[in-house]
């Protein structure tokens, strides 16, 4: 089946997720859609799966325009979405799980037919799934194979893989891709959404590159990794002058006892902003959290261990891990800024709250509950909860999902405070953000810290290659 996107536009508030995107996916191809996090890939395939409706533009399937955006309509069209988490029943056997919702299964049986169908799939695509095993004994890879079979059995002609990397071992991944390749020879179309270059280079027959909601280009494979990287991340601003660092004290801060990381890489100048880069799925996901919560980790400033009470952690999941959904803004300050006060003076705290709400531009009142605030305002609230005597601030993706104005505001605040703190460290998947705001850069690939240097000693291009695991080829 042939899929054509025509002038697709979708916005979320101020964020443009898809901006006038048009391209065609030919029948019988493995077509990859690549781009950074937030480039708009997922939005696009969610429309194809009928989960969201575009504001402008249309999708054509085999030259018929899609008239209705619903999951049911999309399944009837033959679109099958293979998500990151398999949709099965972990306490049933493979056969039982497959039979639930299967059109051949009735109250009076039909199991033998389903058993035969599963065996056929196993044979045809080289899978090796024991039909009578219980689902929770299968690996994630096997469960994704089963999910693929379910999609095919339900009549899917287009298979969409949305970030299929998690949980698949290399071998299982190969099996899935071999099966997908043989499907394309039968006329099926495969759409692969990924930010992993290796999957794209190894398997895709064509590729569309997206950046900031726009389609940059659609190319036939094979292509050089450098070409794709350049398109994914945009034109490099080489020769960019890093701002002067203001390390007036010349103090050194060491982070000690971090497992699996060479302590020489964690020797940093104080009063700087340290950016931690890496792709989603690498250790950068948990690095900030572990730095804060692991009891053995020590932050040592010129030989003196910094009191843990002066270290603050601002997680990326604002409402899940950072704030108290059912508490209002004053109560948040009572727990953070006034944490040493036993008897609370609400009038006094109300004044402080009003002042901070104005200062941080939070759209809310002192008695607004955290869950009533928008993401940007939740982030502003988290920042305003950091008291001035916090010596080390660890921020996880501080501008994740924020509109431009909020993101700029957050950075203005962080930069204004950086010389008052021994260390401001943040993690981000966004290369531009890392390169723009860091004085010092750490970069992870997978579980390894590959790089630790001053920003002035590295080009953005090199950083991008290090993040993507392509550092060797770069030199």
């Amino acid at each position: 089946m042939k899929i054509r996107f025509e002038s697709i536009t979708k916005t979320y508030g101020d964020v443009i997720a898809n901006n006038n995107v048009s391209f065609t996916i030919e029948s019988g191809s493995i077509h990859a859609i690549i781009g950074e996090n937030g480039a708009g890939k997922s939005t696009l395939v969610k429309m194809l799966a009928g989960q969201i409706t575009p504001e402008n533009g249309s999708i054509y399937v085999d030259d018929h325009v899609v008239t209705e955006y619903s999951s049911k309509f999309s399944i009837n069209l033959g679109i099958g979405l293979l998500g990151q988490d398999p949709m099965d029943f972990s306490n049933l056997t493979v056969l039982e799980s497959f039979a639930v919702g299967h059109r051949g299964y009735t109250k009076f049986g039909g199991m033998s037919g389903i058993r035969k169908e599963l065996n056929d799939f196993n044979l045809r695509y080289g899978f090796d799934i024991d039909i009578d095993r219980v689902i929770n004994q299968l690996s994630i890879g096997e469960r994704q194979q089963l999910e693929l079979m379910r999609l095919l059995s339900n009549g899917a002609r287009v298979i969409v893989l949305d970030e299929p990397n998690s949980g698949l071992s290399l071998e299982q991944k190969e099996t899935v891709f071999i099966a997908l390749k043989s499907l394309t020879t039968e006329g099926y179309t495969v759409i692969l959404v990924s930010h992993k270059l290796e999957d794209v280079i190894d398997h895709a027959s064509s590729v569309s590159i997206m950046r900031s909601g726009k389609l940059i280009d659609t190319l036939e494979m094979p292509q050089q990794p450098e070409t794709l990287i350049a398109l994914m991340f945009g034109q490099q601003t080489e020769g960019y002058n890093p701002p002067l660092t203001f390390n007036s004290s010349g103090s050194i801060i060491n982070i000690e006892n971090v497992p699996n990381i060479d302590s020489s890489l964690m020797k940093l100048n104080s009063e700087e902003i340290v950016g931690v880069a890496g792709l989603q799925g690498s250790y950068v996901d948990n690095f900030m959290r572990d730095l804060f919560f692991e009891k053995e980790n020590l932050f040592v400033l010129d030989g003196n261990v910094i009191n843990k009470k002066l270290i603050s952690y601002v997680p990326a999941d604002r409402l899940e891990k950072g704030l108290f959904p059912d508490l209002n803004i004053i109560e948040h300050y009572a727990l953070s800024l006034f944490r040493n006060t036993r008897i609370l003076d609400w009038r006094d705290m109300n004044l402080v709250a009003s002042k901070l709400i104005t200062e941080y531009g939070i759209k809310g009142t002192p008695i607004s509950l955290a869950r009533e605030l928008s993401g940007g305002n939740q982030q502003r609230l988290m920042l305003s909860m950091l008291s001035e005597d916090m010596d080390i601030v660890l921020l996880e993706q501080p501008t994740r999902g924020l509109d431009l104005a909020s993101a700029e505001f957050i950075w203005d605040k962080l930069i204004a405070c950086k010389t008052n703190r021994s260390l401001t460290m943040f993690s981000s998947y966004d290369v531009d953000e890392i390169y723009e705001y860091s004085d010092h850069i750490l970069c992870f690939y997978g579980h390894d810290l590959l790089l630790s240097c001053k920003k002035r000693d590295i080009t953005k291009d090199k950083l991008i290659h290090t993040m993507s695991g392509d550092a060797q080829n770069y030199d």
Partner: protein, 356 residues
């Protein structure tokens, strides 16, 4: 000062609750009419049988105090997002602590009552602490831990009653010997008015109200229930505050056990908690975890229980009817709250008023 007092006792939801009570009564009346029973005579006889008679009024106050205390204890643990099913056991241990003191040399002295109250609180909170430690240190869910501990407490009481504390010459499950009169909770003058239980539950109310409205401790108990991860991110130990929640709840409900032992039975009997702990869960939920509302509901329940027992005699109704009325009222109340019928009614009436 007067304004502060008013702000202290009346929440902005008072009107809603008054309307909800009104609606509940209307729906319950309709239900009774369907059964061919006059709702007016049922309600009148419940009121007559509960608060208009001095004897019954004393019982209403006793039972209401006990129910309020267990609801308070559960509101504390609910604020930490804990299902404290072990509440019954904690109450039983409060009773055990009370009888333990009454049976020592202290029981026949003027120190008896303060020591009973203190010991009941300590026993209750230690028993709560066990449940808390099982949860925080060993990962045993509080519902299973609490239920297990309830059985242990009940077993311990039976053992004490037929074993070490058995009556002279006989071992009967009807209870231990009566404790010395000096260790009974005093009643007001020659009437049976239970002054001490009322003072105890009012004091507990004021104490908890203060903790939750004015102190950092109350806010921390509330916030650990709202989001444990955000709590630990602020450098606070969620385990410690959950344990503290168990300790406070155990101490409060230990007081209820003390009232049962020294204010009602004057001895230790099996099943001394009388199921009021579990009823407290219902009250805490129906009151939407508000201390003041919990008192009102406790006393309504208490009136229904005490007054309901006269229905059979006065109106010749089946003995199970009071239970049905009680359960029906709770159900209707919950339905009204869930469908926000009370709010809709208020909006409807106020829009009419503005219109005219």
């Amino acid at each position: 000062m007067r304004r502060i007092m008013i702000r202290f006792f009346f929440t902005p939801h008072l009107l809603e609750n008054v309307v909800a009570v009104f609606l509940t009564l209307i729906f319950a009346s309709v239900g009774l009419l369907f059964l061919g029973i006059s709702p007016v005579s049922v309600f009148i006889s419940i009121i007559e049988g509960s608060i208009l008679d001095l004897d019954s009024l004393s019982r209403v106050l006793l039972i209401g105090s006990i129910m309020s205390l267990s609801a308070f204890a559960l509101i504390v643990t609910f604020s930490c997002n804990i299902w404290n099913i072990g509440i019954e056991g904690q109450m039983m241990m409060g009773a055990v602590g009370t009888v333990f003191i009454a049976r020592t040399f202290l029981g026949d002295s003027v120190l008896a009552i303060p020591m009973e109250i203190l010991t009941a609180m300590v026993f209750g909170s230690l028993f709560g602490l066990i449940c808390g430690l099982l949860k925080t240190k060993s990962g045993v869910h509080e519902i299973f831990g609490g239920l297990g501990l309830d059985f242990i407490a009940a077993g311990l009481i039976v053992y004490l009653v037929v074993g070490p504390w058995k009556r002279d010459g006989i071992a009967s499950t009807s209870g231990t010997d009566l404790i010395p009169e000096l260790s009974w909770f005093p009643t007001l003058l020659e009437m049976k008015f239970p002054i001490l239980p009322v003072v105890i539950f009012l004091f507990a109310y004021l104490f908890l109200k203060f903790i939750y409205s004015r102190t950092s401790l109350g806010l921390k108990l509330k916030s650990v229930g709202s989001n444990k991860q955000a709590f630990s991110r602020l450098g606070l130990s969620s385990d410690n505050y959950i344990l503290l929640g168990f300790v406070i709840a155990g101490a409060v409900v230990g007081l209820a056990g003390s009232i049962q032992a020294a204010g009602i039975y004057h001895k230790l009997v099996p099943n001394i908690s009388g199921g009021y702990g579990f009823l407290g869960i219902l009250i805490a939920l129906v009151s939407n975890r508000k201390l003041g509302v919990a008192i009102a509901i406790s006393f309504i329940f208490s009136c229904l229980m005490v007054g309901g027992s006269t229905l059979q005699i006065k109106l010749g109704l089946h003995a199970s009817l009071p239970g049905i009325v009680q359960a029906g009222l709770v159900l209707i109340w919950l339905l009204i709250k869930a469908s926000s019928l009370d709010l809709k009614a208020i909006n409807f009436v106020s829009s009419k008023l503005i219109h005219d």
